[in-house]
Symmetry: C2
């Protein structure tokens, strides 16, 4: 079956592009001696995680316990990092159960979290690996200062049931190197273990070698690309492997076409570009502007296109943000040179807990 025969909208991934992305990024990290620990939050798909492991990944990053369970159940992950504060009895019980089955390291940024981890590990009779998250400019989670992170590491080190394994930051552009260095110096002064110094972000992946302190790196979007990476020059159109196949279903005015793919297909994510807000990049019509969407309709301004798409025509859309786009789908169709090779269930879709 050819891709043109698939009903629309359908999520597809180009295998040649995917494999090239996996090879290119793995080669970089291998060359620089930094462990690549792919973040599965982007693709949520066992088939791609298996390819990442086969390419040389040291393990997987899963943002939630329920995601980690999927990949462990698929037999894929022998070493999982969960860079998320696990809080609450239900999730702690699942976390320690998982840690009995595979190597798990979990991140934390508060005494509250690590005390819960210690308590759960003790009840389960296991030792749980923990790293501290330190603020690196995202202003999300993370202990605000290296000194604070070191204090929390000392607390972890003293708590029963826990094994301190180091620390992490996100994102880690070269500018955060002083934070890593200061944290390392404080850890070393306090005699704290730091086998893991983990950085991350696809945006800064090829700058990772400028932070030789890093032992491993978490990236999610490198296999798929996306309009943000395309516009920033990190992925070419060809390297943007993830596409939504869509159909023009209305053309109410000469300059407005409506696709059968809206926010329920692409996610409600938007991207600010120099031409205004975008909800996707039309491969066949680079001059088109995908300026808005309702749930089932994509709204595209084609006034800048010399030749304009017609009703019934199919187009390929590169989503602005691959992660939430994938989460809208139960499966993705793997395609090579326009021919369907596989249909991959997205087993970790919707794993929110």
């Amino acid at each position: 079956m050819r891709v043109e025969e698939l009903d629309t909208p359908t999520l597809t991934i180009d295998l040649d592009a995917l494999e090239e992305n996996l090879t290119r990024y793995q080669a970089y990290f291998t060359q620089h001696g930094i462990g690549l620990r792919p973040h599965i939050k982007t693709h949520k798909t066992a088939a791609i995680a298996a390819m990442q492991m086969a390419h040389g990944a040291i393990g997987l990053t899963c943002q939630k316990v329920s995601e980690a369970e999927v990949f462990v159940n698929c037999g894929l992950a022998v070493d999982i990092l969960i860079p998320f504060n696990i809080v609450g009895k239900a999730k702690l019980e699942r976390l320690v159960a998982l840690a009995k089955r595979t190597r798990v390291t979990v991140a934390a940024d508060s005494a509250y979290t690590v005390e819960g981890l210690s308590d759960a590990a003790q009840r389960a009779g296991i030792t749980l690996g923990v790293i501290v998250e330190v603020e690196c400019g995202m202003e999300r989670t993370g202990v605000a200062t290296p000194a604070g992170a070191t204090e929390l590491a000392q607390h972890i080190d003293r708590l029963p049931g826990l094994e301190l394994r180091g620390f992490m930051g996100y994102p880690t552009p070269p500018a955060v190197r002083p934070i890593l260095q200061e944290t390392i110096a404080l850890f070393d002064k306090a005699g704290l273990a730091r086998e893991i110094v983990s950085g991350g972000s696809t945006r800064h992946a090829f700058e990772a070698h400028l932070l030789p302190e890093l032992t491993e790196y978490r990236i999610g979007e490198y296999p798929t690309g996306g309009e943000g990476h395309l516009r920033a020059g990190r992925h070419t159109v060809e390297q943007c492997a993830l596409r939504v196949q869509a159909t023009v279903i209305s053309k109410p005015t000469p300059n407005r076409v409506i696709l059968d793919a809206g926010s329920k297909t692409l996610s409600a994510s938007t991207l600010q570009t120099d031409r205004g807000v975008s909800m996707g990049y039309l491969v066949e019509y680079p001059e088109a502007r995908f300026y808005g969407a309702s749930e089932e309709h994509g709204h595209v301004d084609v006034s800048a296109c010399a030749v304009k798409p017609e009703i019934g025509e199919r187009v390929q859309v590169i989503p602005v943000h691959p992660c939430p786009c994938v989460n809208e789908h139960d499966e993705m169709v793997a395609v090579r040179k326009g021919v369907v090779e596989a249909v991959w269930p997205i087993y970790a879709r919707g794993m929110i807990r």
Copy 2:
């Protein structure tokens, strides 16, 4: 089980609020002699559609054929309106198959669409009901003018396999009454059937009686509410039945708390408020500002809260836009006075075709 015992994040719906919303809106439409045809795109849930039908709905609105199949398969819908241009062989075949099982009316805004419908109906040996969509200010789909809509209606009227049933617009605030009146006058002059004059939008629902031309009305969000309706005064906090139960999992600074519910739980939808962008309303902390999210983290500024939430504390979030939020979930938990009464599968989640 009490709602506080559910692991987080979890989507819940309050049954008292849901029933009150269903009763209130149905009473209004019954009083004014306008058929209420709920749009299931918001809840995507058979259990709620069944309640809507029991309250007096004349049928259901489904945006895609695959959604309509779900409700027909649940035995719920004897009369379905699909306000969407159905384009392409695969969907046309499913549409006519569905029309053999139940009464289906489908909207169109182009000769391309209606010729495809006619062709498919003839092949299947059936008559398919069609209405014309006329532009009412949304600038999405819809024939640009009443005259153009009438021309398309004449085309439908002449095509074999189709039964012209009238026209629709979206949205239909009182200001669009002249468009409806002009279209009706043109239809009548041309001797065209118009048993259906369909309007829609929860925002303008209680103004529907100001357009006596309407025979029926499509609304989706009235059962659930949402932060947009709350801030506009259309739903009270109590009437916002749909909530995401979340937990504070980090508090890196005194004024920033991080929830375990991000865009993968709430959707990436945002709302512009007078205090800036919002991604949800915290019921227990009305002064908090849910200003951003990554996939699994919700970022909340609590600087304006006199008492601030602590790590481990549970909060209820009213999503800004219920429809894409529901689409992130496989089930919602129905709760009454804090006690779980049912777990409802969201059967139409992800039905994008």
